[in-house]
Symmetry: D2
């Protein structure tokens, strides 16, 4: 069987495929025939040598993956042969707050999912909703769970409140879908006018073009009678605009920082009067709750494009350069 | 101007209409031209002498009312002339937990709303969503706020979870509508097969007939793969069935007890493993949050029948005897 | 090595000691040389055939135990050779709400700790505070964690509030100590005047003798200016008195029911206006938090009497008949 | 009667005393004979023209004050003649989150307390614990309530956790006292070695001198086994050091910013993984809860120096220049 490996900081040139024999699951472990993966910003961070957590040398690449349980070790009682499962990125983070003691992660300090077969602890996998394909399920572990935690893990977005999402990345698109299900009103920004209609179709009530409206926080204020939004999902670290957009006693869920995000004045944080909450993905409990909601509402992740397993490097390149609308997926199914 | 007064425990015979001069609002007070009222079980409890909180002798009847601000006293700055407002039943219960120090209530220890004009503190009124008529708004203060508190005031119903409502009373119908908005799945019971379709139209996914299925908790278990529902809104004090229907770590929001509700075995409470939370209406903060949701989703309360002001006694009789589907309203608008 | 086994419902006659070879830990497992155990009401329930959860035939007895890690299997990275550890009664209940999917428990569906050596998953053990002996640590898993969950797992007892404890059982004594550390005021009941001083020494500010004051809830009301206490730890299922003692918006943490606890009128639950929260022990997260507090305050559990391993049956009998003040412990240390 | 008035931005020169006739309380109002006041940083901000909220022209100065109720208007039922009361700085902020709709504040948009008599709404005053003098009570409304909210209003400091306080200002000293009562461990910083002993006497376990240890966050890490503290009370806006001191999933309660606080890198906020929560004082509910704790533990505020009413300007100057340890109080009692 084949696995893709990466070297920390070695760029795309470090992505290599290698042959292994199919491993055998030990006590409490399962063997998963991987069917699909999806890419996240963390994959690029690892290639660029900018990932904030430890990465194992020569690690099997990619944290997101879905597949079928094809063998089980002794003592496995939470999943069964034939179950369709996704990987849980932080297998030890079951519930409650994040901490370094649960920071081991697939595709980082632990081997990842861009492989034909993976052996995982039974607690590192989770059954996914029946109506989803493997390709759709593979989009959930990072982007879906992050969006869910961002909306529900702090003060908790409530029905009737207003949430602001930024751009068309994976986390933002999930956040729009989930917020609409939660009964909230969504204001979305985009830098591509052509995306406005698609954002509206997903559940955004208003879309602001941040290129034609550089001080878009003013527009956010106008759309909320001056109050600001109750919740911001900040995926870029553009904290100043987020803080100017948020209502007092609201929350800026802070999902990630791009290099070069400008420093922020403490006085602005203070006068905004909203909680600033950094988020690193989410727990298994977040994943379980999100799956319930996806199943109940038959929600479907947005996929931009699917690449076959053999063209993983092209998938990486496309993800990096093409500004996709929705997730970039790698599949091992025959059809792809 | 005319007001209806009641005597505690004197039955419908004690409901009398009397003439007064129109009062003048003092500092911090407003004069409201009442346009509509709605009836709740508490109105019957007061006539029957079974209300658990103190009732003022010869009190102006009815806690629920909506109208227009037609005069304001000195220092009024939270509402304006012409505002369309509802009364806040516990004017002192602003936010946080209920307690006897905030237990003064309209139509009980304080004069109520079944009158042509009422003087109220500016904190005892609240603007209501624009898309609602006075008749619709008048259904909110007791039944709407109770349902909202029942769903959100404790552990908080989450999207994807399942909630059980009992029958077709005002609280239950609001609970169905709100739960659907919150992204939850609703199982409803009814004793009238004819109501099933209407409950489904409001948002119930399944309806159980409790007459043909006396042990309906078994049906609830079946519909939830044996787990039970995450949340029960118990409006009758039939705790045994509620406890047998609820999932471990769920909540039974306990909204009221009918006389003759059977005693409950502590072992059943223990093994159910769910929180039992008694609810007395809700705070001003609950009311504000609910109004946001009603406005955002343009939700409309269910009204069974509207009576003119002059036929208030008939409205009381109808509410008591007719098993209405939705709220019984009394109007003072010309059209009624 | 020797282990005590029990048969469900077979009484003390079913407690037998048997020889086994010392087991070897598998992947992710540790071998613990048990040094001490303590007894809880659940041990009697199992002998009496009244335990609410499944019990494995011929199970190794007793859920509470502490010992030393003397061997580790492959992949063990959370504990080390030589660590002094306690068992976690529900090894799968890491954090968040309890549920049947995490209900496996030591000394019930899983083998227990009344043995010379036990093999446990590395997640089923936890290091304990340095200042405690094995005997003291062995009192924590059931009684300590239950008391901690009872005080902190629901609305959360706050400094300055008042808590009521009942009697001198293990959970109640821990609750007194923890409540005092949390800055709360404790009112305790006892049926033995002689215990009053000891309860005061542990942290109770007032002690009520429930034999000389059968309607002791009236005394509780008097001591709280009529308000009632914010928190009751009900260890017996005497809900009526608890509900009459609790303040509106408070909590009755309901830790267990004795057979024959009288049924309770729903109207009393409703008018009390407090949440009724049943508790089954607590999660690993509760245990970790409690250990932090015990370490920071150098708290010491109350032990009534210690029996040698060979006299386990006497320990059971003493626990059942002697109304101990504090925990009954079984030790394997040389000194005992 | 005499009142001190201030002009926004006019410096100490704008502080003038003027004669008025004693006012009469209206409906729902009380007349308070003020006995003591205390100064806070906000007083300086107003003189400097740097206060973030609107200030009424010619406002009566100072938000903190305590006194005796000497007359009551019609409808007053929450306080009585002779009650010893403190002012509630945000009279409309009863409970729940802060917002602009409850931002009216004594000594800012509303007249303040540096006067011989003040008329206040009955909801703008609160009885204080019996064991406190007027001078002590006058220190509570700003500094005490802020410290209480900082510790309990967000994730909630728990017993056994560790909290970091900065310097010897009023908020920090209260925070040390309250954290010790809550069962937490306190690490305090100071720039004056002479203060270390006094900080320890108040409840700090360790004291770090930030002058001799400029990178004091490293010392904080050492004292917490590298984890960092669970809670930081940042009173100066030195966010970088606070973020380097806090544990993942902890909280930086952000109480105020000094001009010139350096901007902060979003990446540092992100990698710290702790919530950043700005705080503007606290609600009436916070005040009530804090009073309960102060009463139960007979805690006493730390007062640095007391000035007579006639020397208010000296008090301002001393507060600004002398780096007091504890609160600066102005008294109207005979003894001073």
């Amino acid at each position: 069987m084949r696995s893709y490996h990466v070297q920390y900081g070695a760029g795309l040139a470090g992505l290599t495929v290698r042959d292994h024999s199919i491993p055998t699951p030990g006590t409490g472990e399962v063997l998963v025939r991987i069917r699909a993966n999806s890419l996240n910003f963390r994959e690029l961070s690892i290639l660029r040598g900018q990932y904030p957590l430890p990465v194992k040398p020569d690690v099997v690449a990619v944290s997101d993956g879905a597949g079928e349980v094809v063998a089980t070790g002794a003592g496995v009682d939470r999943v069964r042969l034939g179950d369709r499962v996704v990987g849980v990125v932080f297998p030890r983070w079951v519930d409650g707050p994040f901490g370094l003691e649960v920071a081991d992660q697939l595709g980082g300090s632990l081997d990842g999912m861009l492989t034909e077969y993976a052996v995982l602890g039974q607690d590192a996998v989770l059954r996914f909703p029946d109506h989803l394909t493997y390709e759709e399920a593979a989009t959930l572990p990072c982007a879906g769970v992050t969006a869910w935690n961002a909306l529900t893990g702090g003060r908790g977005l409530r029905a009737g409140e207003t949430v602001l999402t930024l751009g068309s990345g994976g986390v933002s698109l999930f956040a729009i879908q989930f917020a609409a299900i939660l009964g909230a009103r969504v204001i979305a920004t985009t830098g591509r006018a052509a995306n406005a209609e698609r954002l509206t179709a997903l559940g955004a009530e208003q879309v602001i073009d941040y290129l034609t409206t550089p001080d878009w926080f003013e527009q956010v204020r106008k759309l909320t009678d001056g109050r600001g939004v109750d919740h911001v999902i900040d995926v870029a670290g553009t904290l100043e605009q987020s803080l100017r957009s948020v209502a007092m006693a609201g929350e800026v869920a802070f999902v990630g920082t791009l290099a070069g995000a400008p420093p922020v004045d403490p006085r602005l944080i203070f006068t905004a009067g909203a909680v600033l909450r950094p988020i690193a993905l989410g727990s298994r409990a977040h994943f379980v709750a999100m799956n319930e909601v996806i199943a109940a509402h038959r929600a479907r992740p947005v996929i931009d494009r699917v690449f076959p397993f053999e063209q993983a490097a092209s998938a990486y390149r496309y993800y990096q350069d093409a500004r996709p609308f929705g997730k970039v997926v790698i599949t091992q199914s025959a059809a792809a």
